[in-house]
């Protein structure tokens, strides 16, 4: 029997799910031959509570989301965090720098009392996560690689070296040489350094490598006359949760 795959979304932009559909015709047909997609609210009406693999998108920002997430963990054999919000908290955690009532007041003004919110968290702050498909948004090819590995009951191989390695292979001019700040030296690769290749710098959306060489990053900053504060401001965009829980 084909494994049953479900997609779920919490707080986020749903871009990860959308990009999961960025397949060629052949890829889509092959995927549907290999798995049954039983739960995918954004594009499918039918729903089922019986599934093997759950892809979970978004971070957790309301109390009411917690039991829903735990219920998914109870039903699924494998839980995969999909995208930066689910894996590391992502941009949603930028609000964690403010008291929640202030965030509510800024957005809803005098009507703030109608609404509730809690500091944003990645899903592994609440449940056990088996695998991570990182990025904002994830690279579709990496998502397919993870699906294939799961179907073969293998552990997906996700790089645990910094973006710099891939950036050099992509023949990019180093961002620091261009006089800008970059998170590439400490952020996990797997994206092919797409942001630098597209003319920008690494924003850190895939999270830190397991054992980041922070001293080396500091040396680089010093060499190019940049400050730690400058890089921390960039780091906060996706990695506020890692920063404040450390």
């Amino acid at each position: 029997m084909k494994p049953k795959v479900a997609f779920f979304d919490f707080t986020g932009c749903e871009g990860c799910q959308l990009d999961a559909l960025n397949l060629s015709g052949e890829e889509l047909i092959n995927l549907l031959n290999a798995v049954d997609i039983v739960n995918f609210r954004e594009v499918v009406t039918e729903r089922e509570d019986n599934y093997d693999i759950a892809f979970v998108e978004g971070s957790i920002t309301r109390e009411s989301e917690i039991p829903r997430l735990q219920n998914i963990r109870d039903h699924a054999k494998v839980v995969v965090a999909l995208g930066a919000c689910a894996c590391i908290g992502g941009v949603n955690c930028l609000k964690n720098h403010l008291p929640m009532d202030e965030a509510l007041r800024i957005v809803y003004g005098k009507d703030a009392r109608y609404y509730d919110t809690i500091p944003a968290r990645p899903i592994d702050a609440l449940i056990q996560v088996d695998y991570y498909v990182r990025g904002c948004p994830p690279i579709t090819a990496e998502l397919l690689k993870v699906v294939k590995a799961l179907l073969l009951c293998r552990k997906p191989e996700i790089p645990n070296y910094p973006v710099c390695t891939e950036c050099k292979m992509a023949d990019n001019v180093c961002v620091f040489e261009r006089g800008m700040t970059c998170l590439g030296p400490v952020i996990r690769a797997g994206c092919g350094a797409i942001c630098v290749t597209s003319g920008r710098h690494c924003w850190g959306c895939r999270g830190l490598v397991d054992d980041p060489n922070l001293d080396s990053e500091k040396d680089i900053l010093k060499k190019y006359g940049l400050t730690v504060e400058q890089v921390v401001e960039k780091f906060k965009i996706y990695n506020t949760y890692a920063e404040v829980t450390k």
Binding site: G12, G15, N22, L104, C195, W203, K234
Partner: protein, 421 residues
């Protein structure tokens, strides 16, 4: 005694989380509500304190489907605040990139989200068996939109190369030439889409409302112009708050809006009603073939207006590429001089008019942000449409009422998580 009790929890085949609630007894409506229950994300709070160069990168994350719209409106607001006038080349590239998003978003809605209703299935997936050609065409058109965006901005979802002042990287002319051919082929695919949509059984429901869209004297407006209303005429961008009048309702985490009437509509049909004359010839022909005339007051026809706009996006992209190929591309100086001030950006996202309004301090740090999303502006209109529609269908079986209401909300192509930014 007939009771109707409909509770659609987490409506499917829309972006984000919303519920439809209808309770009626003996032909009398006791409760009828479009509830938006999506978790809010607080972007207006999160953008405060950010450097201008990070702002559009963060603002893009308001929406995974219309991230090019948010990026563009965000950059425009920052440029307006700093007094930067983008170059002719930048405007051509931005329009072309924008068309990629219109193409992708409309194809997603028409072929992935609406067509399953037409063919009596719950999603596009079973169609791989029964209507393989349609699915392959849908995938092909989506891929084309992705590839066009990749060429111009590195990727489609959360574009990378767009920056305040221009583009951080330019495409190769040879790549533009190659994709031009695929855009022409796609026009042939659109003929098939038109034939498919012709068979769509569109509910005959009319409720006139106020239709609001950007209007530009030079072209069918997507990334320029002033605010046009079918009730109130033209309003300059800097007075947008006089049009939107946002307010909160307790059953929705998304804000509502209204202008001259109880509610107004934005999106493909609102654009069509305001700017029909400026559509290009093939798009006009497709609208005519599909029985869409301006003004049209049937919200179910939004999908048809999207098909006409998809054709427009292809025609316009071919024209834009021809212009770019004729003039060539050159590296431009994107250096930004920051200054304190307020700026407003407005674009026609696939689902309608979108405003970003920023205030910066003298160091280019954002101190205040306001974003008004198309779907926010449509929520109230969806509610009013339901109130007008339900009495006329209340004698039908409950399943049929439920399905019609689901189709109504789906017709608006709501981007719910966007609306609870």
């Amino acid at each position: 005694m007939k009771q109707v009790n409909i509770n659609v929890h987490h409506l499917t085949r829309v972006e984000g989380h919303g519920n439809i609630v209808l309770r009626a007894r003996d032909g009398k409506i006791e409760e009828l509500m479009w509830e938006v229950i999506e978790s809010p994300r607080f972007f207006e709070a999160m953008l405060r304190g950010r450097n201008y160069d990070d702002v559009h990168h963060i603002a893009s994350r308001i929406c995974g489907i219309c991230s090019i719209s948010h990026t563009t409106a965000s950059i425009q607001a920052t440029e307006d605040a700093f007094g930067i006038q983008p170059s002719e080349q930048t405007l051509l590239l931005r329009k072309l990139l924008f068309n990629a998003e219109i193409l992708e978003s409309h194809v997603l809605h028409v072929l992935f989200l609406v067509v399953p209703d037409l063919l009596g299935v719950g999603s596009v997936f079973p169609l791989v068996e029964t209507h393989k050609d349609v699915v392959l065409m849908a995938v092909r058109l989506k891929k084309l939109a992705y590839n066009l965006a990749e060429l111009l901005a590195g990727r489609k979802t959360h574009p990378l190369s767009c920056v305040v002042g221009g583009f951080a990287k330019l495409p190769e002319l040879s790549e533009l030439e190659a994709i031009r051919k695929r855009l022409e082929d796609a026009l042939v695919d659109l003929d098939t889409v038109v034939e498919l949509v012709k068979t769509l059984n569109i509910p005959d429901f009319v409720r006139e409302t106020e239709y609001i869209a950007l209007k530009d004297t030079k072209e069918y407006a997507f990334i320029s112009g002033e605010i046009a209303s079918t009730d109130a005429g033209i309003t300059p961008l800097d007075k947008y708050l006089e049009v939107t009048n946002e307010f909160c309702v307790p059953h929705s985490t998304a804000k509502y809006t209204k202008n001259k009437r109880d509610s107004y509509m934005v999106g493909a049909l609102a654009r069509f009603n305001n700017n029909y004359d400026q559509l290009l010839p093939r798009a006009k022909k497709v609208a005519e073939e599909l029985g869409l005339d301006a003004p049209c007051h049937n919200p179910f026809m939004i999908t048809v207006a999207q098909v006409a706009e998809t054709v427009y996006a292809l025609e316009d992209s071919i024209n834009l590429i021809d212009q770019i190929l004729a003039r060539g591309l050159k590296e431009e100086d994107n250096a930004v001089k920051v200054r304190a001030g307020r700026g407003i950006g407005a674009v026609e996202a696939p689902r309608g008019i979108l405003f970003h309004d920023y205030t910066y301090d003298e160091n280019g740090i954002l101190t205040k942000a306001n974003c008004i999303i198309p779907t926010n502006q449509n929520h109230n209109n969806i509610q009013k449409d339901m109130e007008a529609l339900v009495p006329s269908i209340l004698n039908q079986p409950e399943d049929k009422i439920r399905h019609t209401l689901e189709m109504l909300v789906r017709a608006y192509d709501p981007c719910i998580s966007c609306s609870t930014h």
